[in-house]
Structures are given as C-alpha cells and as structure tokens.
Amino acid sequence: MTGLLMVIVLFLAVFAAAQIMRIYELSAKVRQEREYEVTDKDNNTQGRLMLLFGIGLIVSFFWMMAEWGEIMLPRPSSLHGVEIDRLWDISMWMIIVMFILIQPILFYFAYKYRGRKDGQATYYEHNNRLEFIWTFVPAVVLAVLIIYGLTTWANVMNPKNDEEPMVVELYAQQFKWTVRYSGEDNTLGFANVRLVGGANTVGVDTTHANSADDFLATEIHLPVGRPVLFKFRAQDVIHSAYMPHFRAQMNCVPGMETHFQFTPTVTTAEIRQDPNVQGKVSRINALRQAKGLELYEYDYLLLCNKICGSAHYNMQMNIVVETQAEYDAWVKEQKTIAETL
C-alpha cells in the first residue's frame, strides 16, 4: 500500500514539475527570450557563484585542516617512518601550495571574464614561452620529488642495519592473524599450508631442525630499537598486513612469501604519553562514554587492508612495543609449537 502511494506521489511530483516548467517556458516566450540562451544576468549570477565557490573551497579546506588535523595518525614509531613522513610533508606542502594557487585562479577567471553581450574575447592561440615554462617548472619540481622519493624508497626497502634483524612471521587467514617467532636460532622452521592440521595452525614442519624453538602468539611483541624482519604468508586469499603507526604495509599472498623490515623506536608505554595521542584517546573516550561503551586504551595495531571476505573489517591484532627486559620476560612465558602439539 505504501508502495502504491509512493508511486502515485512520485508521479504527481513529476507531473507538477512538468507543469511548472511549462509555465516557466511560456513566460520566457512572452518576454521574447529563448530560455536556453545565456544572458548577461546569467553570466553575472553564475560568475559570482563561481567566485564564491572558489573562496568557499579554500576556506573549507583550511577549516577541515584546523578541525580534522588532529585525527590524523600520530608521529611515526619506526626509524624509516620518520624518513617517510619527511618526504610526505614536503610533497604535501608542495601540492597544498599548488592547490591554493591554481583553484582560486580558475574560479577567479571564470568570474572576471564572464561574458557580456557586447564583450570581446582576445584571440590568443598559443605562447611557446609560457608553455615551455609550465612544462619545464613541473618537470624540475618532479625531478626533485622523484629523486627524493626513490632514495627514500630504496632506504625503506633495503635498510642497512648494524644489528641482525629479528625474524618474525605473520600468518594471515580469513579472518585472523597468527604471529610465529623464530626463537633463539632466529630462523623460522619450514612451513607449508599442506602441513596445517589440528593444533598446527600455521603448517609448521615440526621435524625441521629450525622449527624446534619456534613459538606462536596472539599478540605481536617487539623489543624497542631492534630491527625486525617480518615474513608474511597467507593461507587462503590475499590479505594485507597494515601497521599504520609504523608506516609499514605489505600484502600477504598465498603461495609466496613477502617481507618488510622496520625498527620500532617508540614503546607502547611512551606513545601513550604523547600529547597528541592523549588528546585523541580522551576525545574517543568521551564519545564512548556517551554511548556506554568500554573505555579505550591506545595500542599499536595490525589491520587487514586487502579485501578478504565478509569479516575483513574485523581482522586485527595488537602490537606491543616494549623494552628488551619486558620482551625477554614475555618470551619466557611462551610455549614452543613442539610443546603445544
């Protein structure tokens, strides 16, 4: 019944709109205007609206920066993250400057050169010099960005460490993460999906010498300041290990091993003292309190960032960065895979 009513209302609305259009067009006819022709009045109105929009766009841009600037990710908690953020800031400032230069010019021209009945445009086909300038200048700026970007990329992907990195495996499956530590020998034992079964959830070859001291965990613990080499595997579909606080991300692909290396530099305890983070947490907790939800404590996170199925939106794991002593104590509590089987 409501459906029928909706259809009738819709029909009447369209009919009414058509009648209004008819009246509008007839009145234009009476005034001997052709509705579709752009008059000086239209150009004035639309030109001013263009100018207004240009101003509004820039103002709202600054408003958003002021209002939402604080929701962005806090400072990076990894060594290479600092380098990425420096490149980020430079690129970002450059594009912001371009944005607030070009947009106003565009909308200002649309206003300033709005048409008039007796107006006259200037016949101006091209100007090699101008065109050379705006080919050359972007080329130079981009050359700088490319060189800077490639250097940063090379440093991030092939970091030079004095210390041998700690090897940790992240194992992804619908819709959970498992972390496997390589133990004292710092070498992961052989593993394959074909060996998965029962309590052996990540398919470790328990007969392999290197797997004897491997252990699994449901939370990632990392000692601060020690480089860590993550090796990624996936059991079923592609997942992506996203650790935004460390500026780290790598896909986990079934049938192949991928890896990413970084050095955490800020412990969980330290980042919780960061004023930005504290501000964020208090804002979030104010919201949660109002909704009657349990209070939130800040943690580093591992998220899945490649569509992987229905519960993709809830595939996460906590990351704890701690001092070496705390880490060693935690390791002592863990049971090796061999022990659990």
Partner: protein
C-alpha cells in the same frame, strides 16, 4: 585528397543503401546502424546503469554513516541481504564491488566514450557514418548484453560478485572464500567478456573512421580535440582490453577447469586445494595492465569534450592546441608503463617499484600542461556560463584537485602507508570519477540539441550543477582526512576499531552529501526526459560553434548532410578571430584573401 575520395565513396554506398532500405521501428530504434542512434542507445543504457550504480553507493553510505541504525529501505531493496534493515557484510562488499564495476566500465567507459565517440566522430570529421555501421551496431548490442548479464548477477542466490571491482584471485576464484565468488562471479566474468568484445568492436571502428573518413581539408592538425581524444582513447582500448580479457579467461579456467594460473598452496574453509605453482600477482599485473590505461580511457574523452566546450564558451581558441595534442599522446604513452603503481606493496620486486614511481610521476607533466592550458583559455575570454561550461570548469577543478594527490600516491615510499585507505578512494574518485562524470554532463548539455533536436532547460541545469559540484567535493574531500587517520577502504563497519570512533562524524557528513548529490541527479534526469519531448526546438547552431556537426541540419538523416559533405578550410578554434564580423568562423568557411589559416 585521399580522404576526400573516401568520403565520396561512402556517399555513394549510402545512396545505394537508401534505395532498398525502408526504415521500420526495429531498424530505426533497436537494430539501428546509424551512428547518432547508436550514440543515443549508449547514452540511455549508460544513464540507466549510472542510476543503479549511484543508488548502490547511497545504500552503502547509509551503512557507513549509521551502522547501528536499521533502515526499512535496505530491506525493501536488498531483501534477505538486509534482514530487518540491517545490511549483511557480504552485501556491503557486493554493493561496493558492483558500484565500482558499473561506474568504471558501464557508465564512464561505454556510457561516456560510446555515446560521444559515436555521436561526434562522423559529424565532426565530416563523414556520412562510421566505417562499419554493422560492427557499430554489434558493439552496442554486446554492451547491452553485458549490461543485462551484470544486472542478472544481482539476483542470484549467493549474491553478485563481491571481491572488489578488481576481483583479485584467490578471493574471486574460490566460492568457498565468500558467497559472492559463486555464480555471481561467473556472471561477472561473462558480462565483462561480452563488454570487452563490444568495446573492441567500437574502438576499431572509431580508429578506422577517424583515419580514413575525414572530409576534404580535415588534416589531423585540424581535428577538434574531442576527436583526438576519442582516437587516442580507442587506441588505448584496443591495446589494453585484450589483456583484461586474457586475465578474465584464465580466471575462468581456474574457477571451472581446475587450472592453477593464479592459485597455489591454498587451504580455504578447512579444505586443502590441489593447486600449485600459480601466482595471484600475475593476475594483478594483467589486470592493471588494462586497469591503468582504463583510467585514461575514461578520462581522455572527458578532457576532449571539455576542450571543445571551454573553447566554444570562452569564445577563444583553445590555448596551445598542439601542446594539447602532445600532452594527450604523452599521457597515453605513459599510461602503458605505470600500471605497477597499483602494486607497490604486493611483494613485487622493490626495483620495479622504483621504475613505476619514476614513470608515474612523469604523467604529472603533461597533466599540468593541460590544466594550465585550460586556465589560459579562460583568460581574457568572453565566457558564456552555460551549464555545459560550468561542468567543464568543474572538471578542471577536480582534475587539478585529484591530480595533485596522485603525486603522493604515485610515490612508492609514500604509498606504503596510504595504500588502500580512504585517501586513495578520495584521490581516484576526484580525479577520475568526478572529472569524467563532469565531462559527461558537459557533453550531454552541450550536444543535447544535436541528439534530440531540442534544448535542455538552462535553469534546471544550473541547479543540477551547483548541487552536484558542492556535494561532490563534500563527499570526497573529507575522505582524505579519514584516509590519513589510517582508515582502510572496503570496511563494512569501523566499530571494531575504537581508534576510528572519532571518524564517525565525518562519515555522517560524507553520507549526507552523498545523498544530496544522488538526489540532485533526479533534477538532471527530469530535465533530460522533459526536454527530450517538450523542450524548445533547437536552432542549427545554438552555441555558435565552429565544428562541423553544427553545419548539419537539425533534423536527423542517414548520411548526416543532405547535399555534399562540407569541406574544411581551417582549424576548429577560430573564435573571436580579428578580421571577422562574427566571433566564430565555422570550419567550412573558406579563408579570406590574405588570411592566415591554421
């Protein structure tokens, strides 16, 4: 001279046809071989698909803004996928997937390029019709068939494809991995196969027509920029779509015949699969080898339309005509060697990442040239702010705004942390989605009189533009911020992560703009159909434009011009040229004595 002779040959064919050929309803409206009718068929089908695609985005925006609320409307449209108005996570992913597929392929590829390439190529180059009317008809019907299959896939038991519009295997290959990878995914692949076949037939036809059927005097350097854009778009399509076809076929083999092109060492839903030796990364390479040129297949026609609309309505020549052609060619060339920037973090060799960063950032140069040339075209113009012109200026704005963030995303080191977040969603919607759809609207407002012999209502056009423009920025600008807060895309709900709690207000703002923008399109649809039947009769050249389509009579006829095909004596951009009485000089006006031609 060669082109002239061809033109005459074609005239002859056409006259010959007419003697034996009586038009009835079927040959005129359904199985038409006339390029103008086929263009209109593409437009109407594209608009229909567009309505569905936009409507889907409004449904999933409801979910994102108010995840705890129940909406009766969801149950009305989604049935069992939204029991009591609460959307199922699988349906959320399906909506996102089909929204992307429909908008990218059905609206902005077929709807945009199909409509305007068909309508404008013969009319603007001075040809009686496309080189092959029959292939052209087939191209539309393949597209129509693929649209039907795609729509049918919405109604299968296990739901439509839901692995994201890129349908990466193994997710899309394994029905055990998600319900959408069952029959829905099979239909998705069949639909895309038909789509690609249609697209290739169309593209071949466009290329052959532009190369061979130009009228006397229509040198390549006198082609309107629309035609240059359509030509390069067609070449991109011919070179890249077959690669997607092969990717889709291999995926079908993996799904149906037990092959292992993309699958290796998999255990899904407790079942160990036999597949060994394949790699999903292979699929990603094949997909993005089309996927990136596809961005320009979408964007170039919109830029071509904008070039034409901006020049005409500024009453000025397009600034730097040759640089514009050069930048189209440069963008097209580069678009084939940048696909890897979608794959920086797939586990691809980091050295390849460096190469793709290098090539990707180079695209900014020709793009900057285009943006600056548009702005200079406005400078000292006598700008007629028609609805088409407003949309074109809007395009320049979004092209700049979205292009700039490309400098961030194309940089592999920076991509690590924003890959697949809402920052990316903001970037590609602004630079590709909005720019292309604005170009499409500009084209419809500008060439409506050519298509339907009537004028669209200007007042409604203005309202449509402003609501669309404001809501477009309102939707996508804030997404940069949620992306920088680390929010991944394709999340059904953010409630599982308290760290994203404070983004909920922004999500509400985005959704409200999305709903406003969606509703604003009703104004356009009303204006379109009302004007089609009741709009004021169009004069022959309503925008006082130079290109050849406006020398053809308002009434449509097979063969476009009643007498001889017009000859061309000048480039299409002689607006406000000193020494002429009018502020436009159509291309078929012979040069005056002593006048320097182009």
């Amino acid at each position: 001279m060669a082109s002239h002779e061809h033109g005459n040959d074609h005239t002859h064919d056409h006259d010959h046809d007419h003697e034996h050929h009586v038009e009835n309803f079927w040959t005129k409206y359904i199985f038409s071989q006339d390029h103008k009718m086929i263009g209109k068929q593409f437009l109407i089908t594209g608009m229909f698909m567009g309505i569905i695609g936009v409507f889907m985005s409004m449904l999933f925006r409801l979910q994102l803004a108010w995840p705890d609320e129940k909406f009766a409307i969801l149950e009305t449209f989604l049935g069992k996928w939204a029991p009591e108005g609460q959307m199922d996570p699988n349906m959320y992913l399906a909506l996102v997937t089909i929204h992307g597929t429909i908008m990218v392929f059905f609206v902005l590829t077929a709807g945009l390029s199909g409509t305007f390439s068909n309508l404008l190529i013969p009319l603007q180059i001075g040809a009686r019709d496309m080189a092959s009317g029959f292939l052209n008809m087939l191209s539309y019907w393949f597209f129509a068939a693929s649209s039907v299959v795609m729509l049918v896939s919405l109604f299968v038991e296990t739901g439509p494809a839901s692995g994201g519009w890129t349908v990466y295997p193994p997710l899309s290959a394994l029905p055990q991995a998600m319900p959408g990878s069952g029959a829905g995914m099979t239909l998705w692949l069949i639909s895309m196969t038909l789509f690609i076949a249609g697209s290739l037939l169309g593209s071949l036809n466009y290329i052959v027509t532009i190369i061979n059927l130009r009228t006397k005097g229509m040198a390549m350097t006198r082609l309107p920029l629309t035609i240059w854009a359509f030509l390069v778009t067609a070449i991109l399509g011919v070179l890249s779509f077959p690669v997607l076809l092969s990717a889709a076929l291999l995926l079908m083999f993996d799904r149906m015949l037990g092959t292992s092109f993309y699958l290796s060492d998999i255990m899904v839903a407790g079942e160990l699969l036999h597949n060994e030796g394949g790699s999903p990364v292979l699929y990603e390479h094949l997909f993005w080898f089309l996927g990136h040129p596809e961005v320009y297949i979408i964007l170039l026609p919109a830029l071509g339309i904008t070039s034409e609309v901006i020049a005409t309505n500024s009453r000025k020549p397009i600034f730097g005509y040759r640089a514009m052609i050069g930048s189209i060619l440069a963008i097209a060339f580069l678009s084939f060697i940048v696909w890897g920037h979608h794959m920086f973090i797939t586990g691809m060799n980091p050295f390849l990442g460096s190469v793709f960063t290098f090539t990707t950032l180079l695209i900014a140069i020709p793009s900057a040239v285009k943006a600056f040339n548009y702005i200079t075209t406005l400078w000292k113009g006598n700008i007629q702010l028609t609805p088409a012109m407003l949309f074109s200026i809007g395009l320049v704005s979004t092209f700049v705004a979205g292009g700039l963030t490309g400098i961030i995303l194309g940089d592999s080191a920076l991509d690590i942390n924003v890959h697949d977040t809402y920052f990316v969603v903001a970037h590609f919607h602004i630079v590709m989605g909005l720019s292309a759809i604005f170009g499409m609207f500009a084209g419809v407002y500008h060439w409506f009189p050519k298509m339907y012999r009537r004028m669209m209502n200007k007042g409604l056009g203005y309202i449509h533009f402003w609501l669309t423009f404001i809501s477009a920025y309102g939707v996508f600008f804030p997404m940069h911020f949620t992306g920088l807060a680390g929010l991944p895309r394709r999340y059904y709900s953010n409630a599982e992560f308290p760290i994203f709690d404070e983004l909920q207000d922004i999500n509400v703002i985005i959704s409200m703009f999305a709903i406003l923008g969606g509703i604003a399109q009703l104004i356009f649809i009303f204006n379109f159909f009302y004007s089609m039947w009741r709009g004021p009769k169009a004069p022959q050249n309503p925008w006082r434009s130079n290109t050849l389509e406006w020398t053809a009579p308002v009434e449509h006829m097979h063969g476009n011009w009643p007498g001889e095909i017009p000859s061309v004596y000048r480039w299409p951009y002689d607006y406000s040229k000193p020494g002429h009485d009018e502020d436009f000089v159509p291309q078929n006006t012979p040069l005056k004595e002593g006048e320097v031609g182009h």
